[in-house]
């Protein structure tokens, strides 16, 4: 996305306003002035032009405004940050508002504000909501594409023309290709299911299963644990609150950044430390959760966590730390004695793999793991001893380790550690999966009911580009199509509902080639607040709103100690012609003759009440929400919070496995899964590195460190940014400067390349090239470089093709994982040179 291409919007966006005039008069430091080198649009804004107010009287947004009074004296309203709870830490925020515009954002001030209390203080992103809502680049009108797709050339149209065009294209697509040719991408701004309900009223669509975050773990863990624990384990509060927890051991987990605000895991990790638990954080970089406690960091080579876990298991098993009788009570396939009949007598147990008496016949000794993980063997022994000697260990993993193509095995290998040491199924422990969250019940994401999808066919949400390119060839056994043996069509109509997904999936050039080709996906509708890398490919582009610009019901989230609900009364007016999805979807439904089924006579607010009241009957059965208020009460109070008792996952099962069996075929934890063995035998794989292992093993996977070459000798991985929620907020100047987009590189690798801290560098491989600022730091293991994902790509594909936005997905591949067909693409090989 070049500056020229973005430029089309600027003239339309920069409008005269009283706020802008105020700013000019006050001569303020330009709150929204583009900074010299960081803004997506490096040129200064054009001079403000005086224009007539919009006819509808919507709030005008200024280029900048100053607060000429004490903003904390303004009236305030309860609101929230952005979206699906950035990593499920949904913070209530207090918005100060004057003359319809936000003047200040303050955090939650209710409840116990002591350090151990439940006050959910927002993070730096929440404190940037003023810039986000009032940004001069907000999309203001519906637009249609007028140049080649992807060229970013649009012109303003009326809402009537927009909804009429979408309705006609929907009808054409259904008549020509069938409902399965329609797909709706996930939303990040406001996951309201308005589009989903519309499509279901029209007969359904091909849905996307899973998500970019933890698609592999979510898909594979039920084979081991059953569906009950879900992809999240025990709440992090287990690590400190009245428990015996004396060790927190985390693999690729960085709650500081991924559960940053609110009373979340970030908060609980700090409390666990102060309550005396020893903390070990295994990661390829000294992630933000180690900051201030660097001695707790255990560096490891990216993508090799399963090798470390297996070697730790070797030490634990061979040194007698494992109570095998206890393990065999709960587990199928730990050793030969509990193997299912189909696999008996073949040395296929987990213990056979670890001890080298089965599978590859290699004992998984610390000496075996050392050159793989780059961790000295004696340190691996030490880590195993820490876990073996812990009275009560809280073992968890982030979702980074599973975002390699070996992730489906890696996440199970890590989960074996608490299982074989008995650190599971009781207070103070975890399942070895991601630490859990507690989310309020009612309408967590401000939705309307999505309805019934009569197509009933799903694809991995990650395989969307493949489904556009060759969905007609998609099968269940090759591409993971669910609900049918084959998809039977390419995706021809795509809703991009508040998502920047093209920016967020591996191999951007490939994505560009597929999306720009109008013969492939014939029609793309995008709804967003801003022009993004993804909306650039829209045929019709609609201006969206935030949760504070409509009536919203938000379920607050914590890592375990409280529950809550927030009602937002739409205290901000949508700017210009921006509208709620529900309203324009209702108009499309009307054109296509399904309005009654779609709206059921309800306004958006009435749907919120409907959703709320559909939960109320359950409150008598669910102790956590027994005091949940009525709709009338929450409308008045806005915020409801309640403490919830501390729980650990799978306690019922471990208390009595016969009485509370899991929903696996055996009713037990399946360390050896016959179902996975069968899938491995019957599914087709293109790459020899891909396979589905019935037990957790270490396997390098596709584009592992083993594929490093002289040309591309460094391994690159990505992590969650602090200043963005994935890609959201990358256009906020204050956040961009506070958390600059940088490539972390160890002095060992930087010195040999003549790279100094702050230098611009080229990061390159066969898929692309990124120019980004270097951060030379000992906080990353040598041989490895890394940067946060989500930076907005800035590429002229017809020019030099170099991304100057610092987007890691330019370099990452798009190869799906073997089972879940999800993204194992957070890492790749590369070279780094000084510019």
């Amino acid at each position: 996305m070049t500056d020229e291409k973005r430029g089309f919007t600027r003239r339309a966006f920069v409008k005269g306003s009283s706020l802008a005039a105020l700013a000019a008069a006050a001569g303020t430091s330009a709150l929204y002035g583009c900074s010299k080198q960081d803004a997506p649009t490096p040129e200064a804004p054009e001079p403000v032009e005086a224009q007539a107010d919009p006819a509808d009287g919507a709030l005008e947004l200024g280029d900048s405004y100053a607060i000429s009074h004490s903003a904390d004296q303004d009236e305030w309203h309860w609101g929230t940050c952005k979206s699906d709870g950035c990593g499920q830490t949904i913070c209530p925020l207090r918005y100060h508002v004057k003359d319809g515009a936000i003047t200040l954002v303050e955090p939650d001030n209710t409840g116990d504000d002591s350090f151990e209390g439940y006050q959910a203080r927002g993070c730096l992103r929440g404190r940037s909501m003023r810039q986000w809502h009032n940004h001069p680049d907000r999309l203001k009108y519906p637009m249609k594409r007028v140049g080649p797709r992807g060229s970013g050339q649009f012109e303003q149209i009326s809402w009537e023309e927009a909804v009429q065009t979408i309705a006609e294209k929907l009808k054409y697509t259904i008549d020509t290709y069938g409902n399965a040719a329609i797909h709706s991408g996930v939303t990040a701004i406001r996951n309201d299911q308005a589009v989903e309900r519309l499509l279901n009223c029209l007969g359904g669509f091909t849905y996307g299963y899973g998500d970019d975050s933890h698609g592999q773990m979510a898909r594979v863990m039920p084979y081991m644990y059953g569906s009950n624990p879900g992809p999240n384990g025990s709440s992090f509060t287990n690590a400190w609150k009245g428990t015996d927890c004396d060790l927190v051991m985390m693999f690729g987990n960085n709650p500081q950044t991924t559960r940053m605000g609110g009373a979340s895991a970030n908060h609980d990790l700090a409390l666990a430390r102060e309550h005396g638990a020893e903390v070990v954080i295994v990661d390829y970089w000294m992630n933000d959760s180690c900051v201030g406690h660097p001695e707790q960091w255990q560096p490891i080579r990216s993508g090799t966590d399963a090798a470390l876990a297996s070697a730790m298991a070797y030490v634990l098993i061979t040194e007698g730390f494992v109570d095998e009788e206890w393990v065999n009570t709960y587990v199928v396939g730990y050793d030969e004695s509990t193997m299912p009949e189909s696999a008996q007598g073949q040395n296929k147990s987990y213990k056979d793999y670890i001890l080298g008496t089965g599978y590859d016949m290699v004992p998984k000794t610390p000496e075996w793991a050392a050159p793989i993980t780059l961790i000295p063997a004696e340190r691996i022994v030490e880590l195993a001893h820490k876990l073996g000697n812990a009275k009560c260990a809280f073992v968890s993993q982030g979702w980074g380790p599973q975002r390699h193509t070996n992730g489906e095995s890696t996440c199970r290998a890590i989960a074996m550690l608490p299982l074989i040491t008995g650190n599971i199924g009781r207070l103070g422990t975890n399942t070895g999966m991601r630490d859990g969250v507690t989310v309020g019940m009612a309408n967590p994401f401000t939705t309307i009911p999505g309805g019934v999808n009569n197509v009933g066919i799903g694809i991995s949400c990650i395989s969307l580009m493949d489904a556009i390119d060759h969905g007609r060839d998609f099968t269940a056994t090759h591409d993971g199509v669910e609900g049918a043996d084959a998809l039977g069509t390419d995706i021809k109509f795509l809703f991009l509902d508040g998502t920047n997904l093209a920016n967020q999936r591996g191999d951007l050039r490939r994505t560009h080639e597929i999306l720009k080709d109008e013969s492939k996906c014939e029609f793309i509708v995008a709804q967003d607040m801003f022009m993004t890398f993804t909306t650039n490919y829209a045929d019709i582009l609609l201006p969206g709103i935030t949760r504070n610009e409509c009536d919203s019901v938000i379920a607050l989230a914590t890592s375990g100690e409280s529950i809550g609900q927030l009602y937002i009364d739409g205290f901000l007016k949508p700017p210009f012609e921006a509208r709620n999805n529900y309203d324009w979807c209702t108009e499309i439904a009307d054109i296509l003759g399904v309005k009654e089924a779609y709206a059921e006579g309800r306004t958006w607010k009435e749907w919120q009440q409907f959703q709320w009241e559909s939960i109320l009957p359950y409150k008598d059965f669910l102790p956590d929400i027994k005091d949940m208020p009525t709709w009338e009460q929450i409308e008045k109070d806005h915020l409801w919070k309640a403490e919830v008792p501390l729980v650990a996952k799978m306690t019922d099962y471990f208390a009595d496995p016969e009485a509370a069996p899991l929903d696996t075929p055996s009713g037990k934890i399946e360390v050896y899964s016959e179902r996975l063995a069968e899938l491995n035998d019957t599914w087709e794989f293109d790459n020899e590195a891909d396979f589905i292992s019935p037990i957790p093993v270490y396997t390098p996977g596709v584009e592992s460190y083993e594929e490093l070459t002289d040309e591309y000798p460094l391994y690159l991985s990505g992590w969650h940014p602090r200043g963005r929620f994935h890609s959201t907020f990358d256009n906020l100047e204050n956040l961009r400067q506070a958390t600059r987009q940088q490539l972390f590189i160890n002095p060992v690798d930087a010195d040999s390349r003549g790279i100094k801290n702050g230098d611009m560098v080229s990061v390159k491989n066969s898929r692309g090239e990124v120019h980004v600022e270097a951060r030379v730091t000992p906080r990353i293991i040598p041989g490895q470089v890394g940067m946060p994902e989500g930076a907005w790509a800035q590429i002229d594909f017809d020019g030099d093709g170099i991304d100057r936005g610092g987007n890691i997905n330019v370099l990452c591949n798009s190869h799906p994982s073997p089972l879940a067909k999800h993204n194992g693409n957070n890492s790749c090989i590369c070279q780094v040179t000084k510019l």
Partner: protein, 207 residues
């Protein structure tokens, strides 16, 4: 006079910058001016073993640094116009925009690099300890913002009796220079970090 000051707990700070952004929101600051800043201080060597494995003494911690409303504020003492004043009642140091001519002497004088020149206003600006909030019985915006309660604010004698008297942490300048009203809790990694090859790892973020 009641002297107010800040407390900073470097064992809780994760460098998340919520304090920075909350301050910017409250004080209407753009990307170019920081009144409170997060300094990332990092260092430590890497050692390769014979088998190719790595061990390290790498360290990293963050310092949330604002104005310390010093006993001997270099900014005020060097201000040629008398715009920069230490308040007689609270000990908070702030600049009077009616008097400030934006000469930048305070910017040059402060060893903590706290005052900033706002070129758009042609004035020097700095943290005033959220004096209005404090006088109304509250705490500064940054203190109330910290998700991990790593900051506190209050009468300096109360802070010292509660948290101790340490006011030096690398890479902040020696406290003997200006007598900062700052109490610091040193995390383990911050003990002698300056002598272990530590450096400011994010100079472009705190410029």
């Amino acid at each position: 006079m009641t002297q107010y000051g800040f407390y900073f707990d470097s064992s809780r700070c994760t460098g998340c910058k919520t304090c920075e952004l909350a301050c910017k929101d409250y004080n209407d600051l753009g990307a170019d001016i920081l009144m409170r800043k997060i300094i990332d201080f990092e260092g430590g060597a890497w050692n390769k073993g014979a088998d190719g494995t790595w061990t390290t003494e790498a360290f990293g911690y963050s310092v949330s640094a604002g104005c310390n409303h010093c006993d001997n504020p270099a900014c005020a003492m060097n201000c040629p116009t008398g715009a920069m004043v230490k308040d007689a009642d609270t000990g908070l140091v702030s600049s009077n925009p009616e008097v400030c001519i934006g000469c930048g002497t305070c910017v040059q004088s402060c060893p903590y690099e706290v005052p900033k020149l706002d070129t758009a206003k042609s004035q020097c600006v700095k943290c005033d300890g959220c004096k209005d909030r404090v006088l109304a019985g509250g705490k500064p915006m940054c203190v109330d913002a910290c998700p991990l309660h790593a900051l506190d604010f209050g009468k300096i004698e109360d802070l010292r009796s509660r948290y101790g008297s340490v006011s030096d942490i690398d890479p902040l300048p020696d406290s003997s220079l200006t007598g900062p009203n700052l109490v610091v809790k040193l995390t383990q990694a911050a003990e002698g970090a300056g002598s272990k090859g530590g450096f400011v790892a994010n100079p472009l973020e705190v410029a």
